[in-house]
Assembly symmetry: C2
Homo-oligomer: 182 residues x 2
């Protein structure tokens, strides 16, 4: 999406700003701008027939509901990031991973959100949270999971459409249920 | 969302990058980063009992479906921007405007998307497109409007949830229909 002739004009802590000369329909040119940021991975964490979600606080923000997950480190592939974040944030691991969604939430930002299913998760250690995380986990059932689409603090704009489509359509709902719990 | 002690560290064509020292839960500090960008306005354009949408092309992008709309100019309020964009892109005006949605699509970006209803729109001039726009308009009915949620090229992530909720729930559907057409 950012063309090859683009140049990075600023590199921040999270975001890079890229610009290029874009030819317009009338032959004139304008400076176009897009951003890059690290990709993120989030995990639908299945524990038995339940789904583990987080009630989370971060400095300077109101509390929110989320799935386990976080940013990919430099050079880290999204599945490795998902496994690392799940272990760090919850202490759980899984040997049965599947990619459910791969989405680009914002047109002007080169940023992919990977949503994984981690089945049959087992606790192997205590969570190791960093100084910017306060997380409590909670187990919910499939119908409560679909209802997350109606929780205004739920932090996964990417997943919300999938949950709403499942609410709207019984076939999609049963397909999602089967996809998760096999 | 960007605190008062934040400083702008870069100003691009569209995006500004802001940083500040954030105190963490353990008393340590880290540099936090957020962006600002101009707010945008989009318009549900009612022409009789139909809704006007756009088939649009912009340089360097695949064609997409959208509502009329665009960025607020510096100092311009969103309703003025909506009226200006509707006139420029379609040649239509309305004397019956209502704000339907006000949303912040991305956590790390200070950016509000305003979705307006413009009722009983009338054509008063030809569209005046800029060199970065190729737009054809199309009139659709309410059910086709709801189905836009299933068009992968539809460029309004903000509206899609509202459309999906209306698909999922007959009461919400009739409420939205009434909201649009009174």
């Amino acid at each position: 999406m950012i063309p090859k002739n683009a140049k990075m004009v600023f590199k921040g802590k999270i975001f890079e700003v890229w610009q290029w000369e874009q030819q317009m329909f009338d032959g004139s040119t304008e400076i176009f701008e897009r951003l890059k940021r690290p990709n993120t991975a989030e995990i639908i964490t299945l524990v038995g027939d339940k789904i583990m979600i987080q009630e989370q606080e971060q400095p300077g923000k109101p509390p929110f509901t989320s799935l386990p997950g976080g940013r990919c480190d430099k050079g880290e592939n999204p599945l490795s990031a998902a496994k690392r974040e799940l272990l760090e944030e919850t202490g759980y691991t899984s040997s049965d991973w599947e990619l459910l969604l791969e989405q680009n939430p914002v047109g002007k930002i080169e940023w992919t959100v990977y949503t994984y299913i981690a089945r049959n998760c087992k606790k192997v250690q205590s969570p190791s949270l960093d100084s910017g995380e306060r997380i409590e986990t909670k187990l919910i059932n499939f119908d409560e999971f679909l209802a997350l689409a109606d929780d205004p603090t739920f932090r996964s704009a990417e997943l919300i459409c999938t949950l709403l489509r499942a609410q709207a359509n019984t076939k999609l709902k049963e397909k999602l249920r089967k996809n998760l719990f096999k």
